[in-house]
């Protein structure tokens, strides 16, 4: 009987139901989008780093894998490391960037030897100090083509090539100009190492640890684990804050919606009570409707998260890659349900306390 009444209430007030569902859905979308963006950014970063083709990453002493800028490794180090046994290639990079954006300087011969080089959609590798190449995402986001000028790091660059994404960075320039630009002449930010055989990676790691005692030596296979939103303190806190806001939104939306519903149904609640409907029954009705709105909102929120992904991919594909996170669907759903149930408790409490005589007299 509860199902019958809830179904009829939901279906006979479609505008209120749709608005409530949509608003709860927006809270769910907020969670899924921000979790998706956090994950998307780190996955994109990981993908571009693994796209380099290296087996090991060397970072400066006291430097984090998540520190994408700074130059603290002498630029002679890559060449020395390349001479170690079982090291096939070593290449240094200079990063100006944050986690989200920026320009990376490379040494073209060693980088090409390691990664196989860039696949250009148009144009070619940089040849002059002011040349820069962009991947297709960055070019789309900044609306640049070969031959255009682009201002990055407070410098005007000539776009000379557009390459397929997935290798190191969205914007790449020559190492020397980057060292000069960020005041890191003679140094690099990190060194990528490729072993001559995957079976020798552990041996190379041991060699590197011996040769560079205080440096960070990370297998690429460990990189994915180490660089994810849960390992990044600020992102983790950010996600929790967003979830908190989403719960508050879900709570407020449901509370307002159910409060309005109860005002609209004051007389109906009086009828239910006059027929012998208990307080528990009335509260069950309110909570059941909140669950329906919460579940509906979750579905809407999941669908909307695909829309936000499309929007971000269309307008800011390089800066805000959003991952779809099915493992978060049920979590976001539970959060929405919790918010909806919490939001329904107070209106429900008002409903069960309503005097049946006053409720029946309500016009």
């Amino acid at each position: 009987m509860i199902a019958t009444i809830v179904r009829s209430n939901v279906s006979h007030r479609p505008v209120r139901t749709l608005l409530s569902t949509l608003l709860i859905g927006i809270a769910v979308t907020l969670i899924l989008t921000l979790v998706g963006v956090s994950r998307g950014i780190t996955e994109d970063n990981t993908s571009r780093n693994t796209g380099v083709g290296a087996d090991i990453i060397v970072t400066a002493p006291n430097s984090s894998l998540l520190s994408f800028s700074g130059t603290a490794i002498p630029d002679k180090v890559p060449a020395k490391l390349a001479s170690l046994p079982h090291v096939a290639v070593a290449t240094g990079t200079v990063n100006s960037a944050s986690l989200f954006d920026g320009v990376t300087g490379i040494d073209v011969p060693t980088f090409t030897a390691m990664s196989g080089g860039f696949v250009f959609e148009s144009g070619h590798i940089f040849e002059q100090p002011d040349d820069i190449i962009l991947d297709t995402y960055a070019a789309q986001q900044m609306k640049k083509r070969v031959g255009d000028k682009v201002n990055m790091l407070q410098k005007e660059w000539n776009v000379v090539g557009i390459f397929e994404p997935g290798k190191l960075a969205h914007a790449i320039a020559g190492m020397a100009v980057m060292q000069k630009l960020i005041g890191g002449t003679g140094n690099v930010s990190r060194v990528y190492i490729k072993a001559d055989d995957p079976a020798n990676i552990d041996t190379v790691v041991t060699e590197l640890k011996a040769a560079l005692p205080n440096y960070g030596i990370t297998r690429m296979s460990d990189y994915t684990t180490l660089v994810n939103p849960n390992q990044i303190g600020p992102l983790r806190i950010f996600i929790r804050v967003v979830i908190g806001i989403a719960v508050i939104i879900g709570f407020a939306v449901t509370s307002l919606s159910m409060y309005m519903a109860i005002l609209q149904r004051t007389r109906e609640i009086g009828i239910l009570k006059s027929l012998g409907g208990s307080r528990t029954f009335v509260m069950q009705l309110i909570l059941a409707e909140a669950v329906i709105l919460g579940v509906g909102g979750t579905v809407v929120g999941i669908l909307l998260s695909f829309m936000t992904r499309w929007l971000l991919h269309t307008f800011v594909p390089a800066s805000m890659p959003q991952a779809i996170t099915p493992d978060w669907w049920w979590k976001a759903g539970l959060i929405a349900l919790a918010g909806a149930m919490l939001g329904a408790i107070y209106p429900g409490f008002i409903a069960v306390r309503q005097d049946p005589i006053e409720a029946l007299a309500y016009e």
Partner: protein, 250 residues
């Protein structure tokens, strides 16, 4: 409205002849409503006895206390003083939960404004009362089917209240009130929102129910012609019963 009700004789008491088979009994019933610092004495020592199978009409001007008496007997509000017994329930000792249980099992209402849930069909409205009354019968019994036929709504049960006329809605409300075979049917101005044809039909149905099944009915009305359908007319004024008119044939 027809005026075919029976003739009435004046009585000095306000109750039934004896305490046997009493289904409603109030003694010195008082009710005071308090709103802020203002107190309103709605009932002042009401004594009323109703036998099982009686059809009693309660009449009186607005503010006379008839609705309050009705609400107390129906368990919608507790009395402030005095005692009320409805069937086996001592209402003065019941809490809200107990009164809810009493409403579900022993008492049914028919209201002036029908009070059907607008989003449920006629059948679902009836089923709702069945559900609250813990009536296990999922299908209409032959007896209830006959009542539906008598009420003329057997083929209107799949309609929403908004798709029914006022008379049909009130007949659905009567069917809902009867589905659990309540000890008492409380009708509050059941013809107040109906035209004369539908009013006559509803009153005839109530009287017929009372005659054929012995259903106890307590009906509030402003209308003397409607009141005449009862076996007894209880006149209220200023929160007290002032006069009882008895059907001379009963």
């Amino acid at each position: 409205m027809s005026s075919q009700g029976p003739a009435f004789a004046r009585r000095s008491d306000s109750g039934a002849d004896s305490s046997t088979d009493l289904i409603i009994e109030t003694r010195n019933l008082g009710k005071i409503y308090r709103t802020g610092k203002v107190s309103v004495e709605a009932l002042r020592g009401v004594n009323l006895s109703v036998k099982a199978g009686e059809f009693v009409s309660i009449v009186g001007p607005s503010g006379s206390g008839k609705s309050t008496l009705f609400h107390i007997i129906g368990g919608l509000t507790p009395p402030t003083s005095g005692s009320v017994r409805v069937g086996s329930f001592d209402l003065a000792s019941l809490n809200d939960s107990g009164r809810t249980n009493m409403r579900a099992q022993a008492v049914s209402f028919v209201f002036q404004k029908f009070n059907l849930l607008p989003n449920l069909t006629a059948r679902e409205n009836i089923d709702l009362a069945r559900y609250f009354g813990k009536n296990q019968q999922s299908e209409d019994s032959a007896e209830f089917a006959a009542i539906l036929e008598k009420l003329g709504i057997a083929n209107r049960l799949s309609h929403l209240p908004s798709e029914l006329s006022g008379g049909e809605q009130q007949r659905v409300a009567i069917a809902r009130a009867l589905v659990n075979r309540p000890a008492i049917l409380l009708a509050d101005e059941p013809t107040g929102n109906l035209d004369s044809v539908n009013s006559d039909a509803v009153l005839e149905i109530l009287r017929d129910l009372n005659d054929r099944t012995g259903q106890t009915i307590l009906m509030i009305t402003h209308n003397p012609e409607a009141a005449a359908y009862g076996h007894r007319i209880v006149q209220m004024r200023d929160g007290a019963i002032v006069e009882t008119l008895r059907d001379s044939a009963s």
